[in-house]
């Protein structure tokens, strides 16, 4: 533990990250961010702004070259069981059934405990895919595949959810539908969630707090609270408060994009 009592679930301090071999500017430079337990935080920024890298640091896939990345006060040295990720593409194994894909964190059905299998079945029911568990990923629509991804993320009941533009490849209708579903899943357990997106309405609809990231190197440009009451509905999207917040974010977002363009 750190010397100060730590209420933050996630804490990044002065993080620096550059991909090996790229002599140019680092992806992230002197980035600090704290997220309290149970918060839903959207990371908003233009493409190539280091948003995905931020999640990779937290999922333990890459290590920072400077600064520290901590979860529950412990430095992240590799993937953790209490962290679950959903990716931009569904990232399902095409040679495994939906059921096995959800059970991937447990090593597929054959290696899973009865508890894990029961949990997978329950999660498939939650995302509305009970009748599709025997199907293969190629037989699923984009929205169904991403629901499988959500169920897989939740298998080991993670306390920290990392969502890397999970709905960006879906059509608008499916997107809204899955956003509502994600809110419902999140409200049931109040896990900490980091949601990377480049959609302002999506960030506002889902998050308690929106962090705007400016690109190259990624720095935090703005950190805004979203005081919209929950559960948010599709009507929330057309409310006046939502409009004001969206306008404010749009201004910040454009600034982020401009700064990114200048640096590049």
């Amino acid at each position: 533990m750190t010397d100060a009592p730590d209420l933050d679930h996630v804490r990044l301090e002065a993080v620096r990250f550059a991909y090996r071999g790229s002599a140019g500017a680092p992806i992230l430079e002197n980035l600090s961010l704290s997220v309290e337990a149970g918060a839903f935080v959207a990371i908003l920024g233009p493409s190539g702004g280091g948003k995905s890298t931020l999640l990779k640091l937290l999922s333990g896939l890459v290590r920072p070259q400077g600064g520290s990345v901590r979860i529950d006060g412990t430095p992240v040295t590799g993937p953790r069981r209490d962290v679950g990720t959903v990716f931009q593409k569904p990232m399902l194994l095409p040679w495994r059934t939906v059921h096995d894909n959800v059970l991937l964190p447990a090593g597929f059905a054959r290696a899973a405990s009865t508890h894990e299998v029961a949990r997978a079945d329950a999660l498939l029911a939650t995302v509305g895919l009970s009748n599709n568990s025997k199907l293969y990923p190629s037989q699923l629509s984009g929205g169904m595949a991403q629901r499988v991804g959500l169920a897989r993320m939740l298998l080991h009941d993670p306390r920290l959810l990392l969502l890397d533009e999970p709905f960006s490849a879906l059509d608008a209708m499916t997107r809204e539908h899955l956003s509502l579903e994600l809110q419902r899943l999140w409200m049931e357990e109040r896990r900490t969630a980091l949601f990377v997106t480049h959609s302002i309405p999506e960030a506002l609809f889902l998050a308690d707090r929106v962090v705007v990231l400016a690109g190259r190197p990624g720095r935090i440009l703005a950190d805004m609270q979203v005081p919209l009451p929950r559960p948010r509905t599709l009507e929330t999207l057309s409310g006046s408060q939502f409009g004001t917040l969206a306008l404010e974010l749009r201004r910040l977002f454009d600034e982020a994009a401009r700064k990114g363009a200048h640096a590049a």
Partner: protein, 261 residues
């Protein structure tokens, strides 16, 4: 309908080829010591098979082909995995694999006969060597081509390295490995025949070779037809297995690569 579309057109082509063949070998046409007519080829094939004369030759060729194919394929997949998964192994060995791959392996046939004798062993070694390289290259390429994001996904869920290899990389490479196996079965047959051409006392290649000496062109054709049959049956079986194994790939032919004979 499918029968009409897929089976009838090639049969029409076959009938046309046979008709032209019969015409050019007919009265006033090509002499039979250059091109025998289809009927004498058919008769040579039929009597050879029924009399049991071809039996031992077929058995010999199939034995060396299948043994060599099995040994070569298992070795190629295992060494391919080593090269793809182990950095030091790749650094020390891979340049030589690339160099040997560029060399026509049939040129080694006389040397292999000197080393392994004139019996079955030398044929098996030659076959194994010839079908080894395309499969090796396909195995390495297949494993390396695994979507890195898929590997990252499995890693993020704390899956150990051996598990990722077994359940992510190997299935991802299965299409390329099957394609290598399909190329290999045809090459294996070539290896066996080349070995028999150089030195043998049995086998379909020997049969063709000795028929050449006697100017028995009908038997030569019968031998070639039998080899064509083996090749077609072999690659059809491998393709059938491939469709079963790599059921999730729509177009397995796209993953085909590596060297061909």
């Amino acid at each position: 309908m499918i029968l009409l579309r897929n089976v009838v057109p090639p049969l029409i082509t076959l009938a046309l080829v046979l008709a032209v063949w019969t015409y050019v070998t007919g009265p006033g046409g090509l002499p039979s010591y250059l091109l025998p007519d289809p009927v004498s080829v058919g008769r040579a094939l039929w009597t050879g098979l029924v009399s049991g004369e071809y039996g031992p030759h077929i058995q010999y060729t199939l034995t060396s082909t299948l043994l060599g194919y099995g040994i070569g394929s298992v070795a190629a997949i295992m060494i391919g995995i080593l090269v793809a998964e182990s950095r030091p192994f790749e650094r020390f060995v891979f340049p030589y694999i690339v160099a040997i791959q560029a060399m026509p392996k049939v040129a080694l046939a006389p040397l292999i006969l000197v080393w392994f004798g004139f019996g079955l062993a030398s044929k098996v070694v030659l076959v194994a060597l010839i079908c080894f390289f395309p499969l090796l290259v396909n195995t390495i390429a297949g494993i390396r081509r695994t979507d890195p994001e898929l590997i990252d996904m499995a890693r993020s869920f704390s899956r150990p390295g051996w598990w990722i290899f077994l359940h992510v990389k190997l299935p991802a490479a299965a299409g390329a490995i099957c394609a290598g196996l399909e190329i290999g079965i045809v090459l294996a047959l070539i290896g066996a025949i080349v070995g028999e051409f150089v030195a043998a006392e049995k086998g379909v290649g020997y049969l063709i070779g000795s028929a050449t000496v006697n100017m028995n062109v009908a038997t030569m054709f019968a031998g070639v037809l039998m080899l064509a049959g083996f090749g077609i049956v072999g690659s059809t079986l491998v393709r059938f297995a491939q469709r079963r194994i790599v059921f999730w790939e729509q177009a397995p032919d796209q993953s085909k690569q590596g060297e061909r004979a």
